[in-house]
């Protein structure tokens, strides 16, 4: 190694150091700390901190509230992401075809996406209002107990989440649609492809990668969903809308069971990592990077 090379390397390290330090301090260190916490019985207000081994995880394995939260998280993620993708792609296609009012459509989409989820939740609280809610009025005054019924509450929360995040998918897809060169469509037309054939053989395959990216991003988000159900239902009724993150929050900040709550957080972390890993494994890193 010449002196020049060594100097370059030192310079590179110096430039990287802030990033590494920040990542280390803000992500890696707390990450390990949470795992360490999850191995303890730790309740600060009772000045209790003792090593517990896998106790917290053993309790979780037989904790119906935990399994219920895990099921809710999975159902919420599967349904909300599926609906968001289907609707997002549809809206993007419709918007792309639209000549009049495209700008307005885009701004309205962005508005829904830009709203903080707590605001969305508050908005939906009113929409679902049992007497004065717009949803009840639209259903012909047939008042459904949206947020107080154990079978309707989760669908109601999913609907609110779809409304909020579908625009994200739609805008991503729309951006891709705009970049598909016109020649491709012209060639298809020359070959005599009809509308359906063009959609199925050209547009959708070309959208494929961006949809896959949206799928990954949305899934990672949905697995950690918190604010929309926290504000809308607080996890109720009967815990039917309590996701793992809501359960973790209650354990950490209300029950002040730092060890136990951390164990739930570690499970969420493992779930998210698992999905990301499986995704990259199945589809290859290219699908995302390209």
């Amino acid at each position: 190694m010449t002196g020049r090379e060594r100097a370059d390397r030192r310079q590179a390290l110096r430039l990287l150091a802030p990033t590494l330090l920040a990542l280390g301090a803000l992500t890696v260190y707390p990450g390990f700390w949470v795992v360490w916490l999850s191995l303890q019985h730790r309740v600060p207000i009772f000045h209790m901190a003792r090593f517990a081994g896998l106790d917290n995880y053993v309790f979780l394995a037989s904790d119906p509230r935990f399994w219920n939260a895990a099921r809710t998280t999975v159902v919420f993620t599967a349904l909300s992401v599926a609906l968001e993708l289907a609707l997002g792609v549809t809206v993007a296609l419709a918007l792309h075809r639209q000549r009049l009012g495209r700008r307005l459509g885009l701004s309205l989409l962005l508005l829904a996406w830009a709203m903080p989820s707590v605001v969305t939740a508050k908005l939906y609280e009113w929409l679902y209002h049992p007497a004065a809610g717009l949803v009840s009025v639209l259903l012909g005054g047939h008042a459904l107990n949206w947020l107080g019924d154990p079978y309707l509450a989760l669908p109601a929360v999913i609907l609110a989440d779809v409304w909020r995040t579908m625009p994200f998918v739609a805008i991503l897809c729309y951006a891709r649609l705009v970049t598909i060169p016109a020649e491709v469509y012209e060639a298809a037309q020359v070959d005599g492809a009809g509308r359906l054939a063009t959609l199925g053989r050209i547009t959708l395959p070309l959208l494929g990668r961006i949809v896959m990216l949206a799928l990954l991003l949305r899934m990672l988000d949905a697995l950690r969903a918190f604010d929309i159900m926290f504000v809308l239902t607080g996890g109720g009724p009967a815990g039917t809308t309590e996701t793992l993150t809501v359960y973790a929050y209650r354990s950490l900040f209300q029950m002040l069971q730092l060890g136990f709550g951390s164990a739930i957080s570690v499970v969420v972390f493992a779930l998210v990592m698992g999905v990301a890993w499986a995704y990259l494994r199945l589809l290859g890193a290219r699908a995302v990077v390209a």
């Binding site: 330090l21 280390g24 301090a25 260190y29 019985h41 309740v43 600060p44 207000i45 009772f46 000045h47 209790m48 309790f59 119906p64 509230r65 209002h129 049992p130 007497a131 008042a143 107990n145 949206w146 947020l147 107080g148 019924d149 154990p150 239902t233 607080g234 996890g235 109720g236 009724p237 009967a238 815990g239 309590e242 209650r250 354990s251 900040f253 209300q254 029950m255 002040l256 069971q257 136990f260």
Partner: protein, 421 residues
């Protein structure tokens, strides 16, 4: 890595801690929730305190909006040993928890003899942990029964003393009124702290409780199951609407305020709104104690409200205690009661002629407040509450029988509380 964090932490700290230099004016930070509405008398009170204490500045800082977030804010800052505030407004259910954690200054040695006597005993009980007093009661609250006096009068009825009577009255009035939009009894059963309050009141109404003096949870499970079963019955039979399971204080208060219900369980704040000039039920609302169930001696509303405590890390404990004393004084509480429709914690004010003129409901409230009972006064109240919430909710929406919900809640509490002993 720890050292790096510490270094970062110090940088952050030195950035925000704009503390006064030695000998300069002292700044007291007072954390409180903005619950006082537009005619907030608090700033004027703080200025008054400053005028009486030259060299002291009081900085009022508002807390996050919801009770959950306020609790989270305090836990993070107090556990993180941040000395960012001196005087804290506390939901009374947090006092034993914060006291147990060692975050609150023990006020006991500073209290004069008889200084606590003017306050409601139940409010003082909620501020006491292990025989020591950690906060002074500031704002009083109690669960009570609102009824439509005009409707009851039309059918020659008196406010019900038992829940059976309440159900009968609802049936009778609804038969007579033939108004499909008129609901019977509104209360709060959304899965949140308010649900626990409502269920606790039903336990007391049935002569039992959630936590016995010796620490047993559900000391009489059959009575508790009976009370829960009764509450579920209210919803199943239509005496209370189906949406009760999504109702919080405001949802139920609005429906009653729109004239859509005969009875409502709520806090005293609602009266002020029912008597507002544009209210549809103005002059038609009465208040009464909550009814009792079959096996209880009498009904009782849960107490609620706010206490003022002093952070143990305050650098000016004497001044901070002085501010707490000032804000809980008769003078300050009178200003708050008049300007913001909050209810005082000092009993004498309920008969104060000047105050009664602007708040005619005060004498009636006095008896209700006096009969109110605190929620379990224990440092693990929030653990208790967060554990029973989904169970109670499951009973009320009809997916779990009361016995099973109670059995499961007991099991969980034994696990968590057992580990604390």
């Amino acid at each position: 890595m720890r050292r790096v964090l510490l270094a970062l932490w110090l940088v952050v700290l030195s950035g925000c801690a704009g503390s006064a230099p030695e000998g300069g004016p002292v700044t007291l930070v007072f954390k409180y929730a903005r619950i006082l509405g537009p005619a907030d008398p608090l700033p004027a009170l703080l200025r008054e305190f400053e005028a009486a204490h030259p060299n002291v500045r009081v900085k009022g800082e508002s807390l996050p909006w919801t009770s959950d977030e306020q609790h989270q804010f305090y836990v993070i800052n107090l556990e993180g040993r941040s000395p960012g505030f001196d005087v804290l407004m506390l939901d009374l259910i947090w006092v034993p928890e914060f006291a147990r954690a060692g975050w609150l200054l023990d006020l006991t040695p500073r209290l004069g003899p008889g200084e606590l006597r003017p306050y409601f005993p139940s409010a003082v009980e909620a501020a006491t942990y292990d025989g020591r007093v950690f906060a002074l009661p500031w704002i009083m609250n109690v669960g009570l029964l609102y009824y439509r006096a005009d409707l009851l009068r039309r059918y020659g009825l008196e406010p019900p003393e038992t829940f059976d009577a309440l159900v009968r009255q609802v049936r009778r009035i609804r038969e007579g009124e033939r108004d499909p939009a008129l609901d019977g009894y509104l209360w709060q059963a959304k899965q949140y702290e308010g649900l626990v309050v409502n269920v606790l009141e039903s336990f007391w109404a049935n002569g039992t409780r959630l936590l016995a003096a010796d620490g047993t949870v559900f000391p009489e499970p059959e009575r508790a199951a009976e009370a829960l079963g009764f509450l579920r019955g209210l919803i199943a039979s239509g005496v209370s609407p189906a949406w009760t399971t999504a109702a919080d204080e405001e949802l139920s208060r609005r429906a009653f305020g729109d004239g859509h219900a005969i009875f409502l369980r709520n806090w005293p704040y609602a009266m002020d709104l029912f008597q507002a000039r544009d209210s549809r039920v103005r002059g038609r609302v009465g208040i009464a104690p909550l009814p009792r169930l079959a096996r209880g001696p009498r009904g009782a509303g849960s107490t609620g409200g706010a206490h003022l405590g002093v952070s143990r890390r305050s650098r000016h404990p004497d001044l901070a205690v002085g501010l707490v004393r000032f804000l809980t004084s008769e003078r300050a509480q009178k200003a708050l009661a008049r300007g913001a429709a909050l209810s005082p914690t000092r009993e004498a004010l309920y008969d104060d002629p000047e105050l009664v003129r602007s708040r005619p409901d005060l004498p009636a409230l006095h008896a209700l407040m006096r009969a109110g009972r605190p929620r379990p006064v224990t440092p693990y109240y929030l653990l208790l509450s967060a554990t029973v919430q989904p169970e109670f909710s499951a009973v009320l929406v009809g997916v779990k029988p009361p016995g099973r919900a109670i059995g499961y809640a007991r099991l969980r509490l034994t696990h968590f509380v057992g580990a604390l002993r």
